[in-house]
């Protein structure tokens, strides 16, 4: 597999400081043998890195800092104390406990009753078929309103029954969830 110059330079930059675990790969060696530009860059990298190493053995500015005395005086003088973690762990514990309680309570809820079945009617040819879907009550609850009839235009388009305006509405007036809305729109005038 051939590698391009950009990839080769990146790998060479790491290799110059021995940061490539496996050393130079055969592909990279092959590339270096073929690409004089990368070969030159490799030599320059080695030279520049060698110069940088000059600074490595510089004697430190402060030989024996002995900072503790000053630090201790500052701690006592300013009355510093190690602060506790900014995020108290008990908050996390309470949150997990609450979630667990909700989960447990929810699992003990009674199964869906007949009153809570959502009936979806679909026109199939000239007849309609009904599908009953278990429905979990929401808050605020849904209330049944009288179906509203829509005057359909006469003509060839009237062959396809238009969707009936859904008869469900929340008591608070808040529109119901979009998914329920879609399901209810599936029933048509022809079924009534």
């Amino acid at each position: 597999m051939k590698i391009h110059c950009g990839q080769a330079r990146d790998e060479l930059s790491l290799e110059v400081g021995q940061d490539l675990e496996a050393g130079l790969s055969p592909e990279l060696r092959c590339h270096l043998a073929e690409c004089p530009k990368c070969c030159r860059a490799w030599l320059e990298l080695q030279e520049a890195h060698g110069h940088l190493q000059h600074l490595k053995h510089d004697s430190p500015l402060v030989e024996s800092p002995g900072l503790w005395q000053d630090v201790e005086i500052a701690i006592q003088g300013r009355g510093l104390r190690p602060q506790q973690s900014s995020f108290p762990s008990w908050v996390l514990g309470v949150a997990v406990g609450m979630l667990f309680t909700i989960f447990v309570l929810d699992s003990f809820r009674s199964p869906v009753s007949d009153d809570e079945m959502l009936i979806i009617e679909m026109p199939v040819g000239s007849e309609s078929s009904a599908l009953e879907v278990p429905y979990r009550p929401q808050w605020p609850p849904l209330v049944l309103v009288e179906p509203v009839r829509v005057n359909r235009p006469r003509g060839p388009r009237a062959l396809t029954p238009p969707p009936r305006i859904q008869p469900w509405r929340r008591s608070s007036g808040i529109p119901i969830a979009r998914s329920s809305h879609k399901v209810l729109r599936a029933s048509t005038d022809a079924d009534f």
Partner: protein
């Protein structure tokens, strides 16, 4: 058991002992035993001062920043995770403080990195190009200074302070892959700037004064 395995086991044990000892010292410091924190300070002060000294050349400023680092670390001990090593966490605070200081200095318009060295020689007017008379180290420092901060930091920590890329990722709070990418980029930038400087000085790269102990150019040679 081979010699290498023995060495590895011993060094691993040393690391674990040191980690336990550090976490014990941190726990005691949290309980208000300042002497325990004193031991941590003594353990790390030399290395911390050395690292800060790589960025700032004013010895007084270095000491001030190191002291401030220890104070800040002391007040934040509650946030330290004792299952980890104390060093990288401390160096993170120190490096951040140092970089903040350098940014403030830069905003004020004063020369920053390596430019306040008390050992800096004044240029000799009788010399045609004063830069030629500067020490090679000074030249290297100046080139290093011109590398953008985020690359320079990685370069200094890896190539001058010998931190591993994993340690640097802990200090700078970046992924190790990011650190490796920055390191490669930093070395390339340094090389280009060095090359440019040699060209300005009229020296072709490769003919400049070779550093003592630098490896001769060769493909795939590892020390």
């Amino acid at each position: 058991m081979t010699e290498a395995t023995k060495t590895f086991t011993v060094s691993q044990q040393d690391t674990e002992t040191s980690l336990l000892s550090e976490s014990r010292l941190v726990e005691e410091s949290r309980r208000g035993r300042t002497a325990a924190y004193g031991e941590l300070v003594r353990l790390y002060e030399r290395r911390l001062v050395r690292v800060i000294g790589r960025f700032i050349s004013d010895a007084w400023q270095v000491e001030d920043l190191a002291q401030e680092t220890f104070l800040r670390a002391y007040t934040r001990l509650g946030q330290f995770d004792t299952s980890r090593r104390f060093g990288p966490w401390l160096f993170r605070i120190g490096v951040n403080l140092t970089l903040d200081h350098l940014r403030k200095v830069k905003r004020r318009g004063r020369p920053a990195l390596f430019s306040e060295s008390p050992f800096e020689r004044s240029p000799d007017p009788s010399v045609e190009d004063p830069r030629r008379d500067l020490d090679l180290k000074q030249e290297v420092r100046e080139v290093l200074e011109s590398v953008p901060e985020k690359y320079r930091t990685v370069l200094v920590l890896r190539d001058l302070e010998n931190f591993s890329t994993a340690e640097i990722s802990g200090i700078l709070d970046r992924k190790e892959a990011t650190i490796r990418w920055r390191l490669a980029e930093a070395r390339q930038r340094f090389q280009k700037l060095w090359h440019k400087r040699l060209e300005q000085d009229g020296l072709a790269p490769g003919t400049g004064s070779s550093p003592v102990g630098s490896q001769p150019p060769g493909v795939g040679e590892r020390q």
